[in-house]
């Protein structure tokens, strides 16, 4: 979905956002609540400049607008694949962004992610996967790698991967797979402003994704194994 249409539908009471290339931020109003918006467009790769800039905006919201909810609208094909970004420590920039989002959550900002285009690997890890809750539009795409590339790397025939992905959510791209595994709380359809308002009002407590993945049958071992390691006598 085009981001201007998306913003109009999320914030029928109005929004002021400033675009700078593939990056944008600003505020939107939904049923009387002001929400900080931070995002990217055009499936952009997240390199160090973009990660740094998003982190700076999160810090500014925490500093200047205590408690204001934050909505992440990050459309990304993943981390930027570049030797120069690796040279400068892109993993450190991604980690910094993740720390800033976590700081916002700990300081009482509700942080929500909405995948409206693409969400891939490192670009997803450092942003919406760190939100309190992450949602998606039904036609969005979430993946680590497409099946042909996965087949080449793992040496498992593409036919086998395709066949298995019909029943298993565990490796194939797809929003529904991530919903079944608990990483996507739900899909937003219809009145997006209502979806947003409900998500802002819903209580949050800890990381519910393992339990959700188990309940939805998409990730059956993560909760059990983590709980055993946490509680078994050593």
């Amino acid at each position: 979905m085009d981001v201007t249409i998306l913003l109009d539908r999320l914030f029928p009471d109005g929004h002021e956002t400033a675009f700078d290339g593939v990056y944008f931020d600003g505020i939107g109003r939904v049923f009387g609540t002001e929400v900080a918006v931070i995002g990217t467009i055009d499936n952009t790769p997240i390199g160090i400049e973009l990660a740094f800039r998003m982190a700076g905006t999160v810090l500014e919201v925490v500093r200047r607008h205590p408690g204001r909810p934050i909505l992440l609208l990050v459309d990304t094909q993943g981390q930027r694949l570049s030797r120069r970004d690796e040279l400068l420590g892109i993993n450190g920039y991604m980690a910094h962004l993740a720390k800033c989002i976590d700081l916002a959550r700990r300081n009482g900002h509700r942080v929500l992610g909405l995948v409206y285009g693409q969400a891939v690997s490192g670009g997803f890890l450092a942003t919406s996967l760190l939100a309190d809750r992450c949602y998606a539009l039904p036609d969005a795409e979430i993946r680590v790698m497409n099946l042909p590339a996965m087949s080449r790397v793992t040496k498992i025939p593409l036919e086998r991967l395709t066949e298995l992905s019909a029943s298993s959510p565990v490796f194939a791209p797809g929003v529904e797979n991530y919903r079944r595994m608990g990483a996507i709380t739900g899909l937003w359809e219809g009145d997006l402003a209502v979806c947003l308002a409900e998500a802002l009002a819903a209580p949050v407590d800890g990381d519910p994704r393992r339990a959700l993945g188990e309940e939805r049958g998409g990730r059956l071992l993560a909760r059990k194994v983590a709980d055993r390691v946490r509680r078994d006598a050593a």
């Binding site: 030797r83 400068l88 892109i90 450190g92 800033c100 996967l129 680590v144 490796f171 991530y178 990483a183």
Partner: protein
Amino acid sequence: MSSYYENSARGRLAGLLDPGSLVEILPPTERVVSPHLRQLDTPAAFDDGIVVGEGRLAGRRVLAAAQEGGFMGGAVGEVHGAKLTGLLERALDTRPDGVLLLVESGGVRLHEANAGLIAVSEVMRAVLAVRASGIPVIVLDGGTFGCFGGMGIVSRLCDAVVMSEEGRLGLSGPEVIETTMGVEEFDSRDRALVWRTVGGKHRYLLGEATTLVEDDVAAFRAAALSLLDQLSDPGPDLSLAALEAEHAVLGSRLERFGDCGDALDIWERLGVEEPEKLPILDTADFLATVRDRRA
């Protein structure tokens, strides 16, 4: 001297912790394996490539995890990641003096990519929860496969990173960049280039690694112990002020080195005389040469 690089995950833990102190949780005898690998007719490991447990470091109570590069390059799948998350959450209950992560990982395990990616984000949240509760988390990186992908991000969420010159730390591995973007972007067979881009010496100069040690398990142990004591008081700082300070450091790195195409340019700008000689120095000489030259 016992090479950290050449040791297995269990060998590293045995040499790192006080003798006989490691008590493994969900050991291989429990046979908690990945169901997804079996489904793809791929061999599984009875520990899913990670050892987690409790132990002592010079008497201090620690929790420790060690990834085994020998099994699928230490890649993170559902069980592997859940063991790590569970161990970190255990720290919230048992309040050890610190948590040690002996990382060695290519990132997310493609055979269970979605589960692995979500698992890494759960590990990330758990690391930050442990630190926010006042317990330091220390990363040791000197294994054969280095530390890339999501685990490269995880490492930089922690309080400190100890590396050897042989250790590597990054996000996208050189092979991944070469395969996707072409050999002219990153020639993964050029060992010198790979080394000076993601290796321990450059990471130390840049400030991505806290401490650089020799490739020796005992040296890693001494560094971990020293950091544990330094970090225990006043404890991890994830405050707004601390993150603003980190933001300033990363901003200044972009300004100072953003136009550098090679580590040699960065080292020269740091004021290192004869930067081309850094790769051949042993760890002690290197540390003496770059004293006061770190970013």
